[in-house]
Chain length 435, copies 2
């Protein structure tokens, strides 16, 4: 049986998984691909004792792999953007197909990479870049290709979901759980990418581009982290029938495309509300099929390797065929990729959860209600707790009906200036994810 | 732009959805496929006023469509097995690629159809045959292609799930909900296919073949319906922390492959336990990626059309390429498809829920427990309700640990012969669906 020849760059966690899974399932994979998959060369600045590289030659200069005439598919697992882009572009210039797990690379440099690949007639595959082992790129680009996508919403950062799950199930604080996630190796030492939503924004912009046929526009994603969520918000949300999840949302609205990552209350009975721990899930709402959901491991060595190797098998099944007929990089063929208006966050419509700490005095609730009413914002539910014996401040929890973000922001600004309001108002968006 | 030319056979619900979605999303679909998709001929024994066929010519003799030299892809939406097989084989003999939504056809005649297609060098695509609009065939054949599948379990009949959901949420009886499902058009006038699990068995055997690389073996699926489930079983399951779902399960066990459709208790906190109403979902447990889940509409006009058209787009993207490189029919290339031992139901291991109605006398519980103990079956939990004032019979609910089905069956036979046991013992399998 002939073999498709792979050059592997990087020897980290995902590369280790890729070597292990390919070796363990070699026979299964050959039977599915119709040919053997053979790693002929590895590029890595240093060895990794956790990676069994057997007798595959290792180059310290990664460019040797990208330019090696024997290599047919270049698998990029080094991470980062600048050097990774240089490497991938060198591979493309040398006629290699590319497989990458690098979400930052695709989100930030994808437009340039896809243009180069199209000109060179090669494939760039990136299933592992979004939601790890869940085949969500394939589902949207191929499985749902007959649909118009209305919106998609996903839990696409496992660390953030682990933190919110622990806060809900064990009543722990954000800081406490974050420290544990770092100790467990879920979160990076610098957790900004995870908890501030940057990692999720990288993935969201990729999903939005393949859903709506538009160029990757990472700079236009609105991003809000989960650091301000308090245990009491998690509890009040529960009391109101909701659960707080850190969602990436892309939606086609009348005025343009919404691209936003932020904490979100969703109804408890939605499957997405029941996705716990480090798991990922994405809901896609389409005109023909309705809602479909995809769930699984969003990170980790072998789950990510599963997606990397699925891409390799896809290319191997087609490697010597006519690439112009393959699934296009961003689902739509390049002539059909069109810029679209990305809505600023102020222009979106949403319901909101507000937690306002007020002095326990007569007339305060009415003052709050009238500011909302003046702004045209109606109230769906309200909870006011009795004050503790020795306290003068009580939290008022308000669930609003759908309103324009700008109106809500103006109303919050006015509420914040009331003498009877103490401290900062907490505001979290609510999405019902209706069919 | 050139066009790929379709011949459509059948003018029922799914054909109507296919015409509607193709027309509505024509531009989107062309932009993704890289060419226009054009229906050039329809075959239908009678017209259907719900299907807008525009000026597409309609033949009463469907074979005219299957043999029309202009047709490149034959879409079979007539249902049934015998004539559908004849039609599809005629299309293959005439060099047409085939797209079908017909689960019975693939499950019962697939081996023969794939052999003919392979010889003719054409594609046979059947995404719509399993779980309607959920791209589960694509996920298993392509997205998970690097994995060894351990097991898969799915809610793959919407009618059955609707009935069980209503029984749980509203305490209604099986017969009552079934009558409503028939009135709503979910269930056929003859509901046997749905509630006896035959429809689910068709789908399960397809999933098992692509997961494990073996020929379609519909006759070997063990099938048990949901007609014997009583509302009290649903309630007791809930009390024990479980929910009853009608699952199709395929599992690789040491002695062979398990293929079974039956009512199953699963833990309430599993996502699968929270899939309600007519929705479908499939969990696939793999060695590398772990568990992934796929959820959505398992039937209906446009959801099924979504899958039919995804297949058409896939073929259109490749129609003039080298078919030998395409995704193989059953995921594995034909030389690698191997017969496997299918385990008889007596040879599987499972936990069980038993409901035994006993006379309220001293020593009865001990007699029951000792029969189980003699058979080597240990008890995980037991509930015995106090009898109502005027009743002499009480239900004893037993949750067993994992045991061999044959041992359990022998023990149930012995229990049934006790004088103190009244009426038939209810027995439902339990699966924990652990990671």
């Amino acid at each position: 049986m002939d073999a498709v020849k792979i050059g592997l760059c990087g020897l980290g966690t995902v590369a280790g998984g890729t070597l292990r899974v390919l070796s363990r399932n070699f026979e299964n994979i050959s039977a599915r691909a119709g040919c053997d998959i053979q790693i002929v060369r590895i590029g890595a600045r240093r060895d990794n004792p956790d990676c069994d590289t057997g007798d595959i030659p290792i180059s310290r200069d990664l460019m040797e792999v990208a330019t090696d005439p024997e290599v047919e598919i270049l698998v990029e697992l080094i991470g980062g953007t600048d050097y990774a882009a240089e490497l991938v572009l060198a591979g493309i210039a040398n006629g290699k197909h590319i497989v990458t797990a690098n979400k930052a690379l695709i989100a930030e440099r994808g437009n340039e990479i896809f243009a180069a690949a199209e000109a060179a007639g090669v494939t760039v595959a990136y299933e592992a870049a979004v939601a790890g082992g869940i085949p969500i790129i394939k589902a949207v680009r191929e499985g749902l290709a007959a649909n118009s996508v209305n919106w998609l919403a996903g839990i696409i950062n496992g660390t953030g979901n682990f933190i919110l799950t622990e806060m809900k199930e064990k009543g722990r604080s954000f800081a406490d759980v974050l420290a544990e996630a770092q100790a467990l190796g879920y979160a990076e030492a610098d957790p900004t990418f995870d908890v501030e939503g940057i990692d999720a924004a990288h993935k969201l912009v990729i999903l939005a581009s393949i859903a709506f046929g538009m160029p990757l526009s990472f700079d236009e994603v609105y991003t809000e982290g989960i650091g301000a969520i308090e245990t009491q918000d998690v509890d009040y949300a529960e009391e109101l029938g909701y659960r707080i999840k850190h969602l990436g949302i892309a939606r086609k609205s009348p005025g343009g495309i919404e691209l936003r990552v932020h904490p979100t209350l969703i109804p408890q009975e939605r499957l997405l509300a029941n996705v716990n721990g480090v798991k990922n899930a994405v809901v896609v709402d389409c005109d023909a099929v309705g809602q479909t959901l995809y769930y699984g491991a969003g990170a980790g060595s072998e789950p990510t390797a599963s997606a990397v190797l699925a891409d390799v098998i896809d290319i191997a099944r087609n490697v010597r065929g006519d690439q112009s007929r393959r699934v296009p990089y961003l689902s739509y063929h390049s002539h059909a990729i069109a810029d679209q208006v990305i809505l600023p966050i102020e222009a979106i419509q949403s319901s909101y959860y507000l937690r306002v700490s007020v002095l326990d005095r007569p007339g305060v609730l009415s003052a709050v209600a009238s500011i909302l009413s003046d702004a045209g914002i109606s109230i769906e539910a309200i909870i006011q707790k009795a004050p503790r014996p020795d306290e003068d401040v009580v939290p008022v929890i308000i669930l609003t009906n759908s309103a324009l973000e700008q109106s809500l922001a103006d109303a919050v600004f006015r509420l914040q200036s009331l003498d009877s309001v103490v401290g900062a108002i907490t505001r979290i968006r609510v999405e019902n994810l209706d069919d």
